[in-house]
């Protein structure tokens, strides 16, 4: 009871603080402080309600228990991170996105390929992952290669469609200007089409960061060596170690956000000229 009371008071107090901060002058500090207080309040609410209603840790462990498990299992979490994120997701992301990029350039060059390849890309994207994953495990074995293959299938289509759209993003006058310069195909591609396509390409790259992580984790449910984030999550649920499951979820969330953030930073540097990036 005391926990619930404390939580309610804490919630009200933090709410009041945030309202006052938001009403006051906007500085760099308040910009960071408001969301931080909000996040802390959520965690305190979670902790207090779980304790206050004495909810079994099998159903929902409190954040303190998850943090403790996180801190004591760092070697395992790191091993799983390397297996799933670095080996499975990143390599699949790299292969899938580069393949889609090259395909998009080919598609843009040839109308024949556009009419032939785009429907196939569409078809592959519509394949359900839980149908493909067991088959790819059969083909590529139990280790990370099959997970990378799942990721390739998942990221290929969004990347392809975005890049193809990007390559058409230049406007007519720019095209005419390049013609008056007598630009060759390659000059046209490198100096006009690709730069104009960059906002679209980065859109695709950003969407694919989260798809890659999801694909790599889910693919491990269908057979894996005894390490990896997906393996750990499915196994520890069966063992009722929900604190470990949440620790893995934390790792996945952190890795996913960092991956997305990195892409956003690169985008900022590459497409500094675009109206959406100007301040």
């Amino acid at each position: 009871m005391i926990w619930i009371l404390f939580v309610l008071i804490f919630w009200g107090a933090m709410w009041a603080v945030n309202v006052r901060l938001a009403a006051g002058p906007q500085t760099q500090l308040t910009k960071i402080l408001v969301p931080t207080l909000f996040g802390i309040t959520l965690l305190v609410l979670w902790e207090g309600l779980v304790r206050g209603f004495s909810i079994s840790p099998i159903l929902l462990p409190p954040p303190s228990m998850i943090a403790q498990r996180f801190a004591t299992s760092l070697p395992i979490l790191w091993e799983d991170f390397v297996q799933t994120f670095i080996k499975g997701a990143l390599s699949g992301y790299f292969i899938g996105c580069s393949a889609a990029f090259l395909t998009a350039i080919a598609v843009d060059r040839s109308d024949f390929l556009k009419r032939g390849l785009l429907p196939i890309g569409n078809f592959v994207a519509a394949l359900p992952i839980i149908g493909m994953a067991p088959i790819l495990v059969m083909w590529f074995g139990f280790d990370w290669q099959s997970k990378a293959a799942v990721v390739v299938i998942m990221v290929f289509f969004p990347m392809l469609v975005n890049t193809v759209a990007g390559l058409n993003a230049k406007d007519k006058f720019q095209d005419d200007l390049m013609k008056t310069y007598a630009a060759s195909y390659w000059q046209n591609l490198l100096k006009l089409k690709l730069p104009a396509a960059m906002p679209f390409i980065f859109n695709g790259l950003k969407i694919c960061t989260t798809l890659a992580l999801i694909g790599a984790i889910v693919a491990e449910f269908f057979g894996s060596p005894i390490r990896g984030m997906g393996f750990r999550i499915s196994t520890e649920v069966g063992r009722l170690s929900l604190d470990m499951v949440w620790a893995e979820i934390t790792v996945a969330a952190l890795a996913g956000s960092a991956f997305y953030g990195t892409m956003a930073l690169i985008e900022k540097a590459v497409t500094f000229w675009h109206p959406s990036q100007r301040n």
Binding site: S56, P57, I58, L59, P134, V137, M138, G141, F142, E220, F222, G223, S224, P225, I226, F231, S234, T235, V237, G238, R239, L240, S241
Partner: protein, 329 residues
């Protein structure tokens, strides 16, 4: 139209009549999908054994993503079927699971190996790849490997462990030398896929002296303090065991009842009849009451885990004869 209305009125009366008897609701969570492994319960339902005891039983099928212990913790079932290693491990995690009946006397778990992968005896496991189920089903395997002194972390001289999906592909593809199988299910999938019994070596956990108790009925300890719940369970266990004994004597009929209840339509008659005859061998030695010697053996094998035992101390109050004593008199 008239008949329809008559029928509706009649069924309304019937429904009223059965409601008047106030049948007690019991929800049973299976450990796996509807198949002859659970024939006893489906027979008891279909033959009206539960109804005779004044019970209204709902059977929930399980699956690869359903942990019975978690279902009962969340209040989704009154009774769950689970393997004892997993139940005792959950117990140590703070979930008060109590075994009230043990219809499976023997273990049906095996490791099935290809002869051409060079496995003849357990001594040949070293440096081989073995397929294992996880999700709470890995404990018997881990304690066996501990007993053999083989490390499972992939280091030299130990074994490489694969998390196998719930099929037998790894052995068919040659990705693993051995895979986990049940006498009544996956073993026959390998045979159906074209490998002959002569090409295979099987190691039954039962024969290797490392068997642990499988499908048992578990309830929450706190519920057992309630007399009404206890009475319900006594009737449930009595009717279920009647179902099991009926299934043992009439395996083909039992298999057909299971097929009728398989909402997924995924099971075949041939496979279910074969499964029922194999399952009957495992339930044959049990009248429903837990054999304390079997329990002690299971606990002992789980405790002997070397550096990483499945449970760290002998559980207390993990089983009771109270229900079966009252049910089977």
């Amino acid at each position: 139209m008239k008949n329809l209305i008559k029928g509706a009125i009649a069924s309304a009366f019937l429904f009223g009549a059965s409601a008047a008897q106030a049948a007690d609701d019991v929800t049973l969570q299976l450990k796996w999908v509807t198949q002859a492994q659970f024939a006893g319960y489906y027979v008891a339902l279909d033959k009206g054994f539960y109804e005779e005891e004044g019970l209204n039983v709902t059977i929930k099928p399980g699956g690869p993503d359903i942990a019975p212990a978690q279902v009962i913790a969340g209040g989704g079932a009154d009774v769950v079927l689970d393997w004892m290693p997993s139940a005792l491990a959950s117990r140590e995690k703070g979930l008060d699971l109590v075994n009230i009946a043990q219809p499976f006397k023997s273990s049906g778990m095996m490791l099935t190996c290809r002869k051409d992968a060079g496995v003849e005896t357990p001594a040949d496991f070293a440096d081989k790849t073995l397929g294992v189920w996880f999700f709470g089903n890995e404990y018997p395997f881990l304690s066996w490997m501990n007993k053999l002194g083989l490390k499972t972390d992939g280091s030299d001289g130990g074994v490489t462990v694969l998390k196998q999906g719930f099929n037998v592909d790894p052995i068919l593809q040659g990705q693993a030398a051995c895979v986990s199988t049940m006498t009544y299910n996956e073993y026959w999938q390998i045979i159906d896929a074209g490998l002959t019994p002569e090409e295979l070596v099987v190691f039954k956990y039962e024969d290797e002296g490392v068997s642990t108790l499988e499908d048992g009925m578990y309830v929450l300890g706190e519920n057992l303090k309630d007399e009404a719940f206890k009475d319900k369970m006594v009737r449930f266990v009595r009717a279920s065991m009647k179902g099991w004994k009926y299934a043992e004597e009439n395996p083909d009929e039992a298999a057909d009842i299971v097929l009728d209840n398989d909402a997924s339509g995924a099971q075949t008659e041939k496979h279910q009849r074969r499964m029922m005859s194999e399952v009957a061998k495992l339930t044959a030695g049990s009248n429903g009451a837990l054999d304390v010697a079997d329990y002690e053996r299971t606990v002992q094998s789980l405790l002997e885990g070397g550096s990483d035992p499945v449970i760290t101390k002998a559980p207390e109050g993990a089983w009771t004869h109270e229900i079966t004593d009252a049910a089977l008199n």
